[in-house]
Point group: C2
Chain length 233, copies 2
């Protein structure tokens, strides 16, 4: 295999990827060191290093000092999903985005919400419910609790003008989050809002965010039947 005269780290990454794909280097095998590859590809070791680091990040190879670089036995082991704002999600589908603020009230949290957020029964939360629309059709039902202790400014936020998701992004950065999916049956209320039958199978996405161990928000998003969440690796 003759390398192209002009090598970039992308070319090298592609070539190594090809060799792994075509089983020139099989899973578990040790591949040549950076210096050897740099010589073969006629480039600097840093360039090979960059290519290999990329491949390691995507899970195709595993690297350890002294031990060298091996083709991963269990290739890709993680999927990355981008979490867009609902607006972006809808507009990416080429539809006009709109939302309706269904309710907004300060309230004590139900037990379930308390437990998930790790708060006491006397914590004051803001409860917001929204219906997101794509091309004027129901797209997503959102039920959100915001911890007013962590984000006091939310008390005065105008959620008619800006939806809570976008407002929070601009006003309350978070340090870590928990994100999950499950399948559920639509409640009577969800069914009516999303214009689907009651007890239909719906995809639910739950998201919790914290800023330095202080819970910020818990949101439950309900998608109508047929919705897919997809990612490519």
């Amino acid at each position: 295999m003759k390398p192209t005269s002009r090598s970039s780290y992308r070319d090298i990454r592609a070539e190594i990827s090809r060799r792994i794909g075509e089983r020139v280097w099989v899973p578990g095998a040790l591949i040549p060191g950076e210096e050897v590859l740099a010589l073969e590809f006629g480039c600097a070791r840093a360039t090979v290093n960059r290519a290999l680091q990329d491949l390691a990040r995507s899970g195709l190879v595993e690297r350890r000092r002294k031990a060298g670089t091996r083709v991963a036995l269990h290739p890709v082991r993680e999927a990355r999903f981008v979490i867009p704002l609902v607006r972006q999600e809808v507009e990416a589908r080429g539809a006009a985005y709109r939302y309706r603020l269904l309710s907004r009230e300060t309230a004590l949290p139900p037990e379930l919400v308390q437990a998930r957020l790790g708060l006491g029964p006397d914590a004051e939360l803001l409860h917001v419910r929204l219906l997101h629309l794509a091309a004027n059709a129901p797209y997503l039902y959102e039920d959100r609790w915001i911890n007013l202790d962590a984000v006091p400014a939310a008390r005065e936020a105008d959620f008619e003008a800006e939806n809570p998701n976008e407002w929070l992004v601009g006003h309350a950065p978070f340090s870590h989050a928990e994100y999950g999916f499950l399948a559920a049956r639509s409640s009577a209320e969800e069914a009516e809002l999303l214009q689907i039958p009651v007890a239909e199978s719906v995809l639910v996405s739950e998201r919790l965010t914290w800023l330095l161990d202080k819970p910020i928000t818990l949101v439950r998003m309900v998608y109508p039947p047929g919705h897919r969440i997809v990612t490519r690796l």
Copy 2:
């Protein structure tokens, strides 16, 4: 802010991240160029470049040539889901793993499968169905199509001895994949196997893999009600 005498790209990344988190640089603002930052941090431009590229990849900043680097208005968050082998998934829950090979036959693909894999109607595929068990209770139903043109060795594979997922990992690396989730209603067959009611709401995970534009496998995995797929960021 005095930089540490010993700067690494991690320190620089952390410091820039901190400034964005503390709104020293607000969303949408232009941040100093690489040369300026290199001067401030007392390091080479390449080091600053690496830190900024990392931040761009994680969505915290947006970079354009000539225009410079800006704090992202809507930081794109990514959720990373670990995709373990079913065996690992079950054993991680502390349950004994076992599976039953329900069927295995060479067949022409149904239209839907043809379309998803981008194959013609005369492609020869291997159709495999499995039930995975955790502590002898149904855990997951798997319906898999394997492209024999891409993986001829699958014809002779012993899927009683090793499940197709693990066999493929060892014998057919893939270059890219598509993962997706959706909610569906259980079919009569799925219901019986998973020991749940018919038309119950189930979480379905679909996975397609390719090796250099050649489809390898399409698999549909059906989880019983209540199953959650969760990740922390």
